[in-house]
């Protein structure tokens, strides 16, 4: 009886990675290790060329890069890649999108780059990856594919954005105490600016999606926007902390906060407009209108306090009030969404799914006594058991 199951299981030995990915990944790993100069006996460029020549000779790229290398600009790219110790595979995959054959090569290359980057460069590198994901998101949103496929790709990309934003924030925290304050402040400022742009890009892309795709991807997009906001806020807090050690507050940090206040004011204005429409058309529940109005007023008050604090150069207080008002605006936006939804009776947020069951690292139900009893029971019950390994 076991023989049949074993045969069925052994069909899964045919699960192997794609040949193309296998060789690309190897080339990427080896060339990145060599070009980082981390313990190699040969210069990075030479190492890169040697790996490249071996790979071309093996014919691994004949199918993939035949058309790419036919174009002079592609050859120039390849030469640049080798010159800077990069990877031909990575350069060839640069424009790929989720679902393309080379997309995983692109992601692998990015992951390796981040892993091997010096600590003080990881956060900025992560933000570049966020920008890349947003470019891909924009491209996907315009693809003439089915709503279902689009929603799936958008979901995956947006999740990636959320994760990468969070990682950038974490890497910034990691260097807070290990790098010079001015360097940390510079990195923090860059991250906050890019996170703001990420939030804008996400909001803009959301508006271009079809109703069906928007509905299916709403939770993940909301999460990504919230993460962008959180990363911005944390980065600004770090920038303020580090520039406090310098005589005058950084003009960049101040300008950053000013822009965020302006953005929050725009959101409040849109919210007020939505409430007004709901009141005029008499389509909304009175309580919801009252809540949205209250949130809007509180957010406006906090923004005023933030502006006054900024004028006094109290950046910490300005940021605190700004964050509080942002939260109110987000809550009010949820209320506003409810105001304009007339016939839709579904919740804004879908029900939580149960935890993924793929990973169960704590096998607490097994203990030594139970195992011994089980072994005895199994040995007694199953006459086919032998002391040899069951194969």
């Amino acid at each position: 009886m076991n023989g049949k199951i074993v045969k069925q299981l052994q069909t899964l030995q045919r699960i192997t990675p794609r040949t193309q990915w296998q060789s690309s990944c190897k080339e990427l790993l080896l060339s990145q290790m060599a070009s980082q100069g981390m313990g190699t006996s040969r210069p990075g460029v030479v190492a890169g060329v040697q790996v490249y020549m071996k790979t071309i000779a093996s014919g691994a790229y004949r199918y993939t890069f035949g058309s790419v290398l036919a174009h002079p600009s592609a050859i120039a790219f390849a030469l640049l890649a080798l010159l800077f110790g990069g990877s031909v595979a990575a350069m060839g995959s640069r424009d790929s999108l989720p679902g393309d054959a080379l997309y995983s090569v692109k992601k692998t290359s990015e992951n390796i780059q981040v892993a091997l980057a010096p600590a003080d460069q990881k956060a900025e590198l992560q933000m570049k990856l966020v920008e890349q994901r947003l470019v891909e998101l924009d491209a996907i949103s315009k693809q003439p594919i089915s709503d279902e496929e689009k929603a799936s790709k958008v979901d995956a990309l947006v999740s990636d954005v959320t994760f990468t934003l969070s990682s950038a924030g974490q890497h910034l925290e990691d260097i807070k105490s290990t790098q010079e304050p001015i360097r940390v402040a510079t990195v923090a400022n860059t991250i906050s600016q890019k996170a703001v742009r990420a939030e804008e890009a996400l909001t803009k892309t959301k508006s271009t999606l079809s109703v069906e795709v928007k509905k299916n991807t709403a939770p993940k997009v909301k999460e990504a926007i919230a993460q962008a906001n959180s990363t911005t806020s944390k980065a600004l807090a770090v920038a303020i902390e580090k520039t406090a050690k310098i005589d005058s507050p950084s003009a960049d940090v101040k300008s950053n906060i000013e822009q965020r206040i302006k953005k929050a004011e725009e959101k409040v204005a849109i919210l007020n407009e939505t409430v007004k429409i709901a009141i005029d058309t008499k389509t909304a529940d009175v309580k919801q209108v009252a809540k949205a109005t209250q949130d809007s007023k509180e957010a406006t008050d906090k923004l005023e306090t933030a502006k006054k604090s900024l004028e006094k150069n109290d950046l910490k207080m300005a940021l605190m009030k700004l964050d509080e008002s942002y939260q109110l605006v987000i809550d009010a936006e949820d209320s506003a969404d409810a105001l304009v939804r007339i016939d839709d009776s579904t919740d804004t947020d879908p029900p939580e799914t149960s935890d993924d069951t793929h990973v169960d690292e704590e096998n607490t139900s097994d203990n030594q006594t139970e195992q011994k009893t089980e072994i005895l029971d199994e040995n007694n019950q199953n006459n086919n058991n032998s002391t040899e390994e069951p194969k």
Binding site: Q10, Q13, I15, K26, G39, K107, A115, D155, S166, P390
Partner: protein, 183 residues
């Protein structure tokens, strides 16, 4: 089968800075590690990303560690940790279709079209049943039946005694039979 001595020589060369020596290790382990990870994550793309990450971390580990007695156990443990981190960071992940093994079946030039379709169906059914098992059972079944490790080798990876591994293997197979009967 790679020899312990050969492996130690490669480790020594990697520690001395010869990155080329990493290539044979990669070639030997990549398919097994990929398969191990593939059956733990939602998609082939995730498996590829995590496999690359596993090898990168293995390389870093080899450079930093003083002594490595059992490289196989090290690589598999790193792979397990990489998957755990994946789920910690990504939260709930929706599984993609199991049609990824289309690629695997398409490569089989020795089979007729009908045989390929049968193979694909079998693989999908077994893979689905395996994925529905508790992670511990799935892991041990994968290591034993798919990756051809011994109970002793598996025990070193999962940090349990060979006896406990054997028990879990029996339970896992029993659970798998139950799942397959339902389909």
């Amino acid at each position: 089968m790679r020899g312990y001595l050969n492996e130690q020589i490669l480790i020594y060369q990697i520690k001395r800075g010869n990155t080329d020596s990493f290539a044979p290790l990669y070639d030997y382990y990549v398919q097994k590690i990929y398969r191990f990870i593939y059956l733990k994550v939602p998609s082939a793309h995730d498996a590829e990303d995590l496999t690359a990450e596993t090898f990168l971390k293995t390389w870093q580990y080899i450079k930093d560690a003083r002594v490595i007695g059992n490289l196989q156990a090290v690589i598999y443990k790193i792979a397990r940790n990489v998957v755990v981190d994946f789920y910690r960071k990504r939260g709930t992940v929706v599984a993609e279709s199991l049609e990824d093994n289309d690629i695997v079946v398409a490569d089989r030039v020795d089979l007729t079209l009908e045989e390929k379709m049968t193979l694909k169906t079998d693989m999908v059914v077994v893979e689905k049943a395996l994925r529905e098992l508790k992670d511990t059972y799935r892991e041990i079944i994968t290591l034993f039946y798919l990756n051809d490790l011994t109970l002793k080798e598996i025990a070193k990876i999962v940090d349990r005694s060979p006896g406990a591994v054997r028990v879990m293997l029996h339970r896992g197979i029993k659970a798998l039979k139950g799942k397959l009967k339902q389909k």
